[in-house]
Amino acid sequence: MTLRISRRDFVKIAGATLALSSVPFSIGVASRVKSHSVSRLEVVEPREVVKTFCGMCGALCGIQVVKVNGRIGYVEPLIEHPQIGLCGRSASAIWLWDSPLRLKRPLKRVGERGEARFQEVDWDIALNEIASKLREIVAKHGHKSIAITHHDVWAYYMPLFSYLFGTPNTISHVGMCHASGTVARRHVLGAGGPPTVDPDYENVSYLLLVSRTPGTASMGVLRRLRSNRKVRIVVVDPRMPEIGLGDAEWIPIIPGTDAAFLLSLAYVIVEEKLYDEMFLKYYSNAPFLIKPDGRPLTEADLVENGDAKKYMVWDAKTKKPVDHKAKDIDPDLFYEGDVTLKDGTVVKVRTAFQLFRERCSKYKPEEASKITGIPAETIRRIARDLALYRGVVDDTWYISRNGNDYDDARAALILNVLLGNIDKPGGLCYMESPKFPSAVTVVTKEGKRYARTFYDAEMPEELFADVRVTRVDKAKYKATPATFDAVLDAILTGDPYPIRALFVIGTTITHRDMDVDKIREALKKLDLLVVIDVLPQDIVDYADYVLPDTIFLEREEFASVKWTLHGAVHLQKKITDPPKGCDARSALWVMFEIARRAFPERAEVLGWKSEYADYHKFEKFEEELVEKLFKKLADTWKIPVEALKKEVEEKGFYILKKKEYMVRPYRVALGTPSGKCEIYSLEALDLGLSPLPDYKPPPAYPLPKAEDEFYLINGKGPLISAHALLAEPMRFFEHIWRVWMNPKDAERLGIRDGDWIELESLAKPGKKVRGRVWITSMVREKVLFTYSFVGRTSKLLSEKHFAHVANGSINIAELNKAYVIPIVGGGASNTSVRVRRVG
């Protein structure tokens, strides 16, 4: 091209260039970008922090809430607290407070039970109607026909509610949680619920977890464990729990065979003489002489007017049977021989240890291997390591799984006794009691009995006769701490007496308990069902009245710290009111108000004034209650109440007694009949249970055999609690909403990750549900795993905020059949299923 360009042309070209190049930018689209989030800290300084404890599960860990711009912002752990938080549930508490799912106003049922059709009513109407119905029911069936079930929320006040409504039937979740373990703890160690004995997590050298997973609830426990640098952790479980994601050895075991495994460990420890001989001789009932009828030899057997509580052991020094408490004796652990009773008969006695040894010999590692699926060498190795490191077998927590769990727990506890690692640093230790005042105690004053509350209101005996009636669950399961399944039976059959009214407070029995069809049937048969909760748990669909409760951020509560070996108390502070538009009120107020309207005399005598109907006046009453608790505690511990209050206000907690080791059973007798650790449980014997643990296959469901049959087990985790699961963040954690399947099983059945499967219950043939699969090696072959409390169906869960409701999780209660361990009262939530791919 020839160059023929004038200066004028050039200027024009340049101008045109500029003009044309501005074309893209002249598009008048306003930028959608608003300025990216301005730092809120430019607006607020400093951050306000309120110390409290968490209520997103039952553990109650120490946290502090950071307020941002006067609103609740986020959650931090309370670092000095003896049980420090936190987990994903606690961090989600912010979402719970003003959740769109939050129950806001009292609801009254207008459809059928289960249809979840309600109308909003005001508090007065709801409470009056409930009260009126209660009066009707009580007139026909008595006070004892009222039952109240709960979980950890409001648990402290349950005895008070018992007296308020005149019924013994305040029955918690424990039967579906730790009942079997708690009975075992009582029988072997004279202890109570799960935190009453616990491994000394900070100092333990080797921790064997059998169906126990720290880091499930109580992050405080996890913190202590994780501060321990030398501990070796071995977890034995059909599925790998979260602790196995870190440094821990996971040993898969066939479900329901823990006892065989543990007794096999005991076998190795006994046969290879790895036990603590001194401990067994002097601090356990291993040397007790047992007669052929299984009962212990006592002084009463040997001499006239002998003490039936003086248990005999064989003194190797004097070669005679002596009282186990006698000084300067050398009890023979292995004695077998003849003893002449006072009536002249000669009986062959053997020590409890010999009987235990005989029991264990059924579970040599090769035998146990066949039952449990764990290689014999592994069993030997663990037994030896456990002994070598003087480790601890965790005393179990959630254990209501297969119907044979009571013996699992006993075997676990006995192993610790064998190793003599009781109440020592790094051992299985007793928790110091903070001596927290009971909500109600029965006292005698001037020859009359009164039920006295912790705030000194007194109910005379004539008003609480009904409360002393046998509780429906204790009538069926003598040793149980609580078995709600018995309430369902009482509703359905009227045995031992009918239950006609039920309060469900902060718990969802459609998932917690067994056999949801049975549960639904029972719920439909009630005359009155009142649900007090914060979110639409599935149980809400069946309620006659749904009453919105406050959440932990909205109320003050003074309580004992649960998961620490120290005796400590802590204060939950009221940080905020319920959100605007949410007329939630404390269940304490609700129950008292119902009682006042139904049984005014009872409420009055328990200190409830009619002016407390005004919620603000009630809040003053609540403050008085807390004051009373402070005072009682200060008196018990002989500390100035002002000092106690000041420290609790400032730090959020108070340690009343630091853990003192080597106390039980060394200086203080245990709560067992012998006062010592009992490998041979005398209380079990009295109850008609076998005094020694044994293995038997799970009675709760048929064992899976065919290629497409599986165990279906459930468990907990650090994201699992009935209400935490309804917080929005949970929907992103897919692993909690799926059914876990082992890759080998999946391959054999042609199932891929994310596929839908149909599970048909083998315990309830014909009962089917659908779920989505997550293929993971975190579950053993032949086993499917689901978390508890997933698989929601409440019609009140709106799609938008709970879009994952139809995402493929299952409620195991749809598939299991109710089984309760006789006498012990522990339930069994696992079951077995047949599986096929459906899409």
């Binding site: 091209m1 160059l3 024009k12 260039t17 190049s21 074309v23 689209v29 959608r32």
Partner: protein, 377 residues
């Protein structure tokens, strides 16, 4: 007729702009950061580059084409380049969160280590050069070439900037280590070869449609573009084959294996290879041997569409199957949303509208002189 076409093209232009704006206002976040919009932008950018490279055969190297067809239709080629670069810019700006500030913030940052900084720089230079060129060729006309002229200098500069721009565009992707299927220089080679294919097919389509009655032009186009198609396609497939073979034991195999024999293989073998190579070469052979302009048009359409698919596959597929930071394979399911599809549609509408407008208003014919408003007919 001319008036009607003018109205249609203005409506199409406005509608296209509106679609782009609508798409911008409603765009969503996807599992991959650079999706359909970036594909559309890249496609149009490569049309520009390719068209310019084809044109440079004449403007830089003096090759006039069969029957001097390249020289005679030179201005059409230039206008095609400009018509494509406008929607390219519109789309890439619409992909930003702040389109209006976007360009200026980049230019003023002097972030010389960022490939995208250089995109802005090269585009700025190219924009100026293209405008200079179109005005120059309209005003001065395609006269006799002399090696030492401003025209040659402009043309050479344009070719240089084009190649730098195209390679830099490729290396916007190619320098990303996070997407193993991109890392390396293969994208640069594929983009350049691919640009020639789609630039040439754009030109071929444009000319054969506009001059569908002009036998001389059709004849030229059939002969000239057939050769370009054959050579560029063979070059493209050659480069692609080596890219795939070399990827075998590199992290890039994660995504290339899906292209060659995995989830994307159907598209690859049917569209890119069967259609884009085998079928096209057969059609082009027919076009060449029988001097059949319809066959040429068919081949052009196929190559244009396959070209879009190729760009889509290179950009989207390798993001869709990548490596996670912990070394396992990350599978991301991406499908273009309605907003994105509408935006690309808008881009094509702008492109065609501009082509039409330029054809109607500008003196693009050989030896045609501007009569109104300095550069218009």
């Amino acid at each position: 007729m001319r008036g009607l076409l003018l109205v249609i093209s203005i409506i199409a232009l406005i509608a296209g702009l509106a679609l782009i704006a609508y798409g911008y206002a409603t765009k969503e976040i996807h599992v991959i950061p650079w999706g359909f919009i970036v594909v559309g932008y890249t496609f149009f950018a490569l049309v520009t580059v390719g068209s310019t490279i084809v044109n440079s055969l004449y403007s830089v190297f003096g090759y006039k084409g069969p029957e001097e067809g390249l020289k005679r239709n030179f201005k059409y080629g230039t206008w095609l380049s400009i018509s494509a670069i406008i929607p390219a810019w519109l789309l890439i700006l619409a992909d930003l969160a702040k389109p209006i500030e976007g360009f200026f913030r980049i230019i003023m940052s002097f972030a010389v280590e960022a490939r995208i900084y250089w995109m802005a720089v090269f585009y700025a230079i190219l924009a100026i050069l293209l405008v200079i060129e179109i005005i120059y060729v309209i005003r001065v006309g395609g006269g006799k070439g002399s090696m030492v002229t401003l025209g040659l200098a402009i043309a050479a500069l344009i070719l240089l900037v084009d190649v730098l721009l195209a390679s830099n565009l490729a290396q916007v992707f190619g320098s990303i280590i996070a997407v193993p299927g991109w890392t390396g220089i293969h994208l640069m080679t594929l983009f350049l070869a691919g640009a020639v294919i789609i630039g040439a097919s754009g030109q071929a389509l444009y000319l054969s449609i506009y001059k569908w009655r002009d036998k001389r032009t059709l004849d030229y186009a059939t002969r000239f573009y057939s050769w370009i198609f054959v050579l560029a396609t063979l070059l493209y497939i050659f480069l692609l084959a080596w890219t795939i073979l070399t990827a075998r034991y590199t992290p890039a195999w994660v995504s290339w294996s899906e292209v060659v024999r995995g989830v994307f293989s159907m598209g690859f073998w049917v569209v890119e290879v069967l259609l884009g190579v085998v079928v096209v070469l057969v059609i082009v052979a027919y076009a060449m041997l029988r001097r059949n302009p319809v066959a040429l048009m068919l081949a052009s359409i196929i190559l244009f569409v396959v070209g879009f698919y190729r760009v889509y596959s290179l950009i989207v597929h390798h993001q869709s199957i990548a490596l996670s930071p912990v070394g396992d394979i990350l599978v991301l399911h991406y499908t273009p949303s309605t907003a994105e599809i509408l935006m690309i549609l808008g881009g094509f509408m702008v492109f065609i509208a501009l082509l039409l407008l330029g054809t109607l208003l500008l003196p693009l014919e050989h030896e045609e002189k501007p009569r109104r408003l300095w550069i218009f007919r």
